[in-house]
């Protein structure tokens, strides 16, 4: 069944069940997103894709809201801009977005004040380096859940990660904070692939970014290990 609606004043016809985000794409309106990824289940977390629908009390997340007949949608109203800008400002006050290029662009687009929330408590964290393949720098984690989803039912079905904590203390957890090699992790790196902010990054890249060569580092370590006597 076809559903007719308007988006930013333009008429759109799409199949029933289409999301507002997909419908908007039909008229070349791209919705900004943070948590959304084509390969993971949309959970409507970031609310950066919210749009205004006439007659609705609250804004609607475009990634998960299905179209309905005669809906009038505004993707760039003042309310929408206000919410998007504030979300970016609050997020930027919480985590290190320096390696999230998409979010840097969004902050410029929405004229977000990068110092909007002075003295805000940040989610600081140590870089976790517990395996040969990737590091976890949760200071950069935006809690988009994609790594958990990639590890779980969306891509890998390995279930090493879970969302942990609660509220502002939300985080990505392993079982009793075990280092990755002690979990069910198989180092597929599908989590790294879907991370939007470089909180998960391959070690090759992590060291290269600091002007170091991981292959050399690890080959040195290997030599040292080989010199250790066999137990």
């Amino acid at each position: 069944m076809t559903v007719k609606l308007s988006i930013d004043g333009k008429p759109v016809s799409v199949a029933e069940g289409t999301t507002l985000m997909e419908a908007a794409r039909k008229i070349d309106v791209d919705t900004p997103v943070i948590c959304y990824h084509e390969a993971t289940t949309s959970e409507g977390l970031c609310r950066q894709c919210v749009v205004e629908v006439d007659g609705w009390r609250v804004l609607a997340p475009a990634c998960v809201t299905p179209v309905s007949q005669d809906m009038h949608v505004h993707t760039d109203s003042e309310r929408v801009q206000h919410a998007r800008r504030t979300i970016l400002e609050m997020l930027n006050a919480t985590v290190d977005l320096s390696q999230a290029p998409d979010l840097q662009i969004q902050m410029d687009d929405y004229q977000a004040d990068r110092q909007r929330f002075p003295n805000a408590q940040v989610r600081d964290a140590q870089v976790l380096d517990d395996n040969p393949f990737y590091v976890r720098d949760y200071e950069k984690c935006v809690m988009c859940w994609r790594c958990v989803q990639a590890c779980g039912d969306d891509l890998q079905f390995t279930y090493s990660l879970s969302t942990g904590g609660r509220g502002y203390e939300s985080k990505i957890s392993t079982f009793f904070d075990a280092p990755m090699p002690e979990t069910t992790c198989v180092f597929c790196g599908n989590c790294v692939a879907v991370c939007p902010s470089n909180a998960l990054v391959s070690k090759t890249e992590f060291f290269m970014d600091q002007g170091l060569n991981y292959d050399q580092i690890r080959q040195e370590k290997r030599k040292q290990r080989k010199q250790m006597p066999r137990k």
Binding site: E38, A39, Q99, P101, N131, P132, F133, Y134, D153, L155, Q156, F157, P181, V186, F187, C188, G189, N190, V192, A193, N198, S202, K203, T204, E205, M208, D209, Y214, D215, R218, K221, R222, R225, R230, K231
Partner: protein, 700 residues
């Protein structure tokens, strides 16, 4: 953040899944590997090897110059390290190689050369290789490691349905209703395929029966886990067939329309009751019944298997008994069904497809069929040897007996992969000439006279064909190290020199501009490939053969209307016990196989970060056995068979059943094949890597 200067799409060089990868490159360094989320077969998914393990490409120990053995000509040859070789120019190395090979051919005939092409090289490389072997050396002695992995699947499927590839595609897996995984530790050997199979279970509620002695990870997703005693697979499958026939769960229409021999087959199952199978396999009869019902009653059901089925002295029987199950239930010829041997190497399918087998030209066209041979003779403009060549293990036998004087090995490492390595080394030492073409100095190289440095997958163009017959491109991403050259280039140069040395008036044709021209020649001669070209693959990412014409979409699943053999042949079988059973002196069954983080002989993965997560040879021992032997987790122990011994570190785990130990075969310093037995399936000639008798000894 590192900005990529270039992103190059290619195909992962590890297992047969054929994952599409994007290599991110800066200053000739591959710093990241990703996968496109919208492209088959992996749809963005990768495993540790594909994502983090292709750093071997840039390992300092890559071969960069042709090497010539310093004591070339001395007999018997000794194994030597790199220090036993000197660097040479390409001119010198190729001239010498041609001279040596030509001399042997001239004196003993082409059949005195045994050749091994490569399941790691491209279709184009392998096409040229077999063209060189057939068209210049004049022998059909060409084989590759498929002999050591799925030869029995091939034999069994040829016998029953007349075709040996995976019948259905990876993309169909997530929509299965029910499936059987047997003899495949899918999560470790085909990690990305295992994600689609788990997706079928977790997201679509598909039913899964795992039939495997080891408690592999897939058992966690299984509705039924049949833990048979090693080597009793046929009994289980026969009993399942018994249940399906006895309870009339079979598909009469399919049996009537598409198969032959049902009456006799059904009769042959009379005594194969689940209780009979329970006695042999230890699997409770009711579990066998449940699994049979699950499979037979499903709307769409498929069977996936790996080395546990084929690397056995009854490998062919195993495959035949699985084919029988599919034929009586009609679970073949439709989406989401099929008989699916999961191929191990990135291009093991393609290497066979490209004629890397002793009995067939590309596309499984028989060398002993005069019409086929005539077609190739016409095209190549030369005469061809009509006799079927020798298989891998037969070449070893022939070398031992003196019939084969020289080996030409491209991109394989038989000194790790063959069973009973002590024996294999002895044979190798007796050869007159060994020519090797590879990217690293491996265990086989120690016996070579001349080593030609080749480019890796990341430095060249061409195609790989994955496990589900999907032909996909690889593209050059980084420069070749030193003077390394593409395999097809080396082969072309060598072929032309050989033709000169042998005084051939007509060249079989080795002037190619690029791999796409090689593909075009192969496609011209191979009906199944005729619709595929590199240009089309650029546009469509990948095409499943058979693809007879350019407007043909390719064939994700086979046998919709008929089998290559016409009707599927239902084949009665007898249960036979294994070749080497444990006794008092060698009380344990040794099974060998792979682990997630390593790859075959370890040549690539042990030169990668992957080495850091799994650095040592291990043996899996059941806690009960460990306790009886006084072995603790982490202890180094000696494992001994009638053929050799190795030292490995103990993993105490319930994964393998009591009385069975498992050793991965990736570690040269403790090569599992020192222990294995060269007993072969009578039809497929595949060695049994899964059943050798061994003893465990604590080290002091």
């Amino acid at each position: 953040m590192i900005e990529a200067q270039e992103v190059v799409r290619s195909t992962c060089p590890y297992c047969g899944v054929g994952c599409q990868i994007d290599m991110y490159i800066k200053e000739d360094q591959i710093f990241r590997v990703e996968a496109p989320f919208d492209v088959a077969p992996n749809f963005g998914r990768l495993c540790a090897k594909g994502r983090f393990g292709i750093d071997f490409v840039q390992h300092p120990s890559r071969l960069k110059k042709p090497l010539i053995r310093k004591d070339i000509g001395e007999s018997p040859r000794k194994a030597v390290g790199l220090e036993g070789f000197r660097e040479a120019t390409w001119e010198e190395a190729l001239d010498l190689a041609a001279e040596k090979l030509a001399a042997i051919v001239a004196q003993h005939g082409g059949d005195a050369v045994g050749t091994f092409c490569s399941a790691k090289a491209t279709n184009e490389d392998n096409y040229i290789f077999q063209k060189l072997v057939r068209g210049v050396l004049g022998t059909n002695n060409v084989d590759h490691c498929a002999r050591l992995c799925h030869a029995a699947s091939v034999a069994g499927l040829q016998l029953t349905i007349g075709s040996s590839a995976m019948s259905n595609s990876i993309a169909e897996m997530k929509d299965l209703d029910a499936f059987i995984v047997t003899g495949s530790n899918t999560t470790e050997t085909h990690p990305v395929i295992s994600t689609f199979l788990r997706e079928a279970v977790v997201r679509n509620g598909a039913k899964l029966a795992v039939i495997d002695p080891r408690q592999i990870e897939m058992t966690e997703f299984a509705d039924h886990w049949l833990r048979q005693k090693p080597g009793t697979d046929v009994a289980i499958f026969q009993a399942m067939a018994h249940v399906i026939v006895h309870e009339e769960l079979y598909n009469s229409d399919f049996i009537d329309d598409r198969t032959e021999g049902f009456g006799e087959y059904a009769k042959s199952l009379a005594d194969c009751t689940p209780e009979w199978a329970e006695g042999l396999s230890g699997v409770p009869a009711d579990q066998i019944r449940d699994a049979a019902r699950m499979y037979a009653n499903a709307e769409r059901a498929a069977i996936y298997w790996g080395m546990g089925i084929s690397q056995s002295v009854h490998g062919t029987d195993n495959a035949v008994s699985l084919a029988n199950l599919a034929l009586i239930t009609g679970h073949i010829g439709k989406p989401g069904t099929g008989l699916n041997p999961l191929r191990g190497q990135n291009n093991v399918q393609g290497c066979s497809d490209s004629g890397g087998l002793p009995n067939v030209f590309p596309g499984y066209q028989l060398v002993n069929d005069p019409d086929i041979r005539g077609k190739f003779e016409n095209d190549w403009g030369i005469q061809l040897n009509p006799d079927v060549g020798l298989t891998t293990m037969e070449m070893v036998d022939a070398a031992e007996q003196g019939g084969i004087k020289a080996y030409f090995v491209m991109g394989e490492n038989p000194m790790m992969s063959e069973p009973d390595l002590r024996h294999a080394r002895h044979v190798m030492a007796s050869l007159e000439f060994v020519l090797l073409q590879d990217i690293f100095f491996n265990e086989t190289a120690e016996y070579a006279d001349i080593i030609l440095p080749a480019t890796s997958f990341a430095e060249k163009a061409g195609t790989f064909t994955n496990s589900d017959r999907r032909v996909q491109l690889i593209r050059p991403a980084v420069p070749a190290p030193g003077e390394a050259r593409d395999d097809w280039v080396i082969l072309s140069e060598l072929a032309q020199r050989l033709e000169t040395e042998l005084g051939r008036e007509e060249s079989a044709g080795f002037e190619f501009d690029d791999p796409s021209a090689i593909w075009d020649e192969m496609a011209r001669l191979t009906p199944d490939f005729q619709g595929i070209s590199h240009a089309r693959l650029q546009r469509e990412d990948g095409v499943h053969w058979p693809c007879p014409s350019e407007d043909h979409p390719g064939t994700p699943y086979l046998f919709e209307d008929d089998f290559p053999s016409g009707r599927g042949r239902l084949t009665p079988l007898d249960y036979r016990p294994s070749a080497e059973l444990p006794n008092d002196e060698y009380p344990f069954i040794l099974s060998t196989g792979r682990v997630l983080y390593h790859w075959h002989g370890g040549t690539m993965t042990r030169r990668s970060k992957l080495e850091d997560i799994y650095p040592e040879p291990t043996v899996e021992v059941h806690p009960n056995d460990a306790e009886n032997l006084g072995i603790a987790a982490g202890d180094w122990i000696k494992v001994r068979s009638r053929r050799g011994e190795i030292q490995v570190r103990t993993l105490v785990t319930e994964r393998s059943p009591t009385g069975t130990v498992f050793i991965p075969f990736h570690f040269a310093e403790a090569a599992a094949n020192e222990l294995t037995l060269d007993a072969r399936d009578p039809q497929a000639k595949i060695p049994d890597y899964k059943m050798s008798a061994v003893a465990l000894e604590k080290l002091n």
